[in-house]
Subunit: 463 residues, 2 copies
């Protein structure tokens, strides 16, 4: 895809220099809005309005929706009021809202001034819903039917009003603005007779969300029930809009990206990587880096407090990275698994004991395997091969035992913290690798020196 855009950019630049506008138009109309937007993103900003004017009205608006917000802004600033009005007339309300949300105030004013009063009212309504709620991603343009209509009437109504609706494939049956059923165009077309009434063929077993439902939950429900669109109702059960599958797909992608960013210790960003400046990346990365760096002080303090014991048996130091890393990795595995299951609604807080019990059994298996491997590796590599001073079977036993206990602690901590976070209303994704690693580092050192002092006679004299 991207390769295609790059070649097209070069072709367009050449054609633009040669002022071959008809050719450019002929090329652009064969393309999809998403591809046109990709090509436009590589063109100099000043040329954008010129290119944009070459597009037929509808394709222009559709391509506009697909552009990144900085290009949209440049374009709005470069076109006339009447051109902007033409674009606004073609947009669906939810797309218009997405654009408005990203623009600076003076551009928003111009957009609203060029929208028709109905559109302006709907944009303002949707803008009031909290960010990431169903209300903020819904569209208010859907096909309304009434229960007493016939199938023939319904098809006529779709033919008359459908052109402006984001989807016509699911129609909504309202009585006094309350949703009483849904009818698919499939069931309308396949109905045995045009004279049947809507209430006799409608689906009255409804799946709805409210304006305040989180967009992630909305996407999950649409995926779970295989819905093309889901109706959004207000607190009084009146229908206010629909969320369509294409928006749900975007939400799913965005939410997965956000979870991954948070799990890697970053504050989530709306911008794509290549469009983020180093300073923006820095702002998203430095908070957790600083916090975790400072927390690592505790691990340092633990190490300092065992300084004399380490000095008495320096060979113990060599195994610290292996113990800390394996602990961290074991904990991350559990936390990431639990975080993802929570976010897909496969787990709930009430499952916490089940989860801990499962992790304990898994940890025993992993811990046992790693201990044996670790014991063998130390005896083979450090003792036999490298003949490292002081490293003998007792030391190998200390390290292996520590390995087992650390893996056990790490997996229990790793699965418990995300569930507690969710229960307390925090994002469980925060409790992923970096956070767990910091805790497990400290734990593994405490276990290490505890076991070492217990088993190694050289250390028992040192308090």
């Amino acid at each position: 895809m991207a390769d295609h855009s790059v070649t097209m950019e070069n072709t367009l630049s050449t054609l633009l220099q040669e002022k071959k506008y008809t050719t450019i138009r002929d090329v652009l109309v064969t393309m999809n809005p998403a591809d046109i937007a990709a090509v436009f993103s590589g063109v100099e900003r000043e040329k954008l309005p010129l290119l944009f004017r070459l597009l037929p009205k509808e394709l222009a608006a559709e391509s506009f929706v697909e552009m990144e917000s900085d290009e949209q802004e440049a374009l709005i600033r470069g076109i006339s009021d009447s051109e902007l009005r033409q674009v606004m007339d073609e947009l669906y309300v939810d797309d218009a809202v997405d654009i408005v949300e990203e623009m600076p105030a003076n551009v928003v004013q111009r957009i609203l001034a060029q929208s028709d009063p109905e559109m302006r009212k709907e944009i303002n309504e949707i803008l009031q819903y909290p960010e990431n709620s169903a209300g903020s991603v819904m569209t208010t343009e859907y096909v309304k039917l009434s229960p007493d209509m016939t199938v023939g009437d319904a098809i006529l109504r779709i033919r008359r009003t459908g052109v402006d609706k984001e989807t016509i494939y699911t129609c909504y049956v309202l009585q006094n603005r309350i949703l009483v059923g849904t009818v698919s165009v499939k069931s309308l077309l396949l109905a045995p007779s045009d004279l049947q009434t809507i209430d006799s063929i409608m689906e009255s077993n409804l799946i709805t969300v409210t304006t305040h439902t989180d967009q992630e939950e909305v996407a999950h429900m649409m995926s779970k029930y295989n819905l093309l669109a889901i109706p959004v109702v207000d607190g009084d059960n009146r229908m206010v809009g629909i969320v369509t599958f294409d928006d749900a797909m975007d939400v799913m992608e965005d939410e997965a990206t956000e979870d991954m960013e948070i799990m890697a210790g970053m504050t989530p960003s709306d911008k794509t990587y290549l469009r983020s400046s180093p300073f923006e990346l820095f702002k998203h990365r430095i908070p957790w880096l600083s916090l975790l760096m400072i927390s690592a002080t505790f691990t340092g303090l633990i190490l300092t407090s065992f300084e004399e014991k380490l000095a008495a048996m320096v060979c113990l130091t060599a195994f610290i990275p292996m113990l800390m890393d394996t602990g961290g990795n074991s904990g991350s595995q559990s936390s990431v698994t639990v975080i993802r299951a929570l976010s897909l609604n496969e787990l709930e807080f009430k499952d916490i004991l089940k989860v801990i019990w499962k992790e304990i059994r898994t940890a025993v298996l992993c811990g046992a395997a790693l201990s044996v491997l670790c014991f063998g590796k130390i005896m083979l590599v450090d003792n036999l091969l490298l003949r490292t001073e002081d490293v003998n079977a007792t030391v190998a036993l200390v390290v292996s035992l520590t390995m087992f206990v650390t893996v056990l602690c790490a997996k229990v901590v790793g699965c418990t913290l995300p569930m507690l976070a969710k229960k307390l209303g925090f994002d469980p994704a925060v409790m992923a690798s970096p956070f767990i690693t910091t805790i497990v580092d400290a734990l593994s050192l405490l276990v290490y020196f505890g076991i070492a002092t217990l088993i190694l006679p050289q250390l028992q004299a040192i308090v």
Copy 2:
């Protein structure tokens, strides 16, 4: 949702004990297939066939599709051949394939024996495509039109054949089995006249995938172009099937889960967490844990080789966890960001220099901020507050400088490795936190002792 199922399970158990089958039926028919499947998963296996028989034919088949494979298997074993035939008759081909893929051989034979010959042929064809390819997730049931049909003919054809098609909303215009255009039901319904021909209203600017396109790419394309369904063509450009949006949504969820699992050092699993046994979890977790544990040996060796220097200035040990952890975290941030951008097609290998340059600038910002913070923290906490032996401004400088260089190395390694992995045909997600941490650990120690030897006079005597 899940709470709802739990309450329903109790109600159903009570009703089952009281043998109130009519009530059970009345309750079940108000529910959605996905919810029925959730409720059934909590019921004893032996009761499943009894409950299943209470459902109307179509709802039974739809609920069957939504069940987990072990319940499907139990159910198939518990129902008669003629009941199985009824279920198979109601299934779409792609759903039938999903079921067949999960069943043991003897169950598969029974399923195929009870499918009609057409269905059997299509199942066998789809089963031949590689796992995770467009061919393996497509369905072969779609509406075919020809270019010379009129709009009226097309609507008639949909009415006659649409009931068995997974979607009727996008129809495919074929000429000698080659796809020449698509027509939406919306454009059919909104066409000015029933006498217009299909080729005059069809969209001939086609977006297609081939049978071997990766399912993740298929989902991305559908999301990018907002498609309800995407046509799948074979090597000779003949149309063989479609992938619908609901399958694309499932693919998106599964692929994001898989990426997260791989990034956390696990081999991906198809089963949900609660359904995986501790031994299964162990099998998915132990390979990377063992590999990374063994790799940490190198970090240990580096530490051992600087043993004498550490013994000469024991206070340096206390800062090792902080340096290693911050390095690991910095590297993970870059690698996860790049891995996600690669998987969303926002980045390609040709951007590698752009990415490295961006990460270097970001690393300079992060490294500078962390160095200053780290210098301040050491002078304030370790020197002034705790009065740790040997810790002075020179030591603080060594640690801060190491911090800066480590962050720089970590970010460059973190962004480069996933891109190289992708270029070499590996999954970039493997190059995430655990892997990067192991490399950065070793790097940070080398940098630490290098800088320490350079700056601290106490260490220069020791070779």
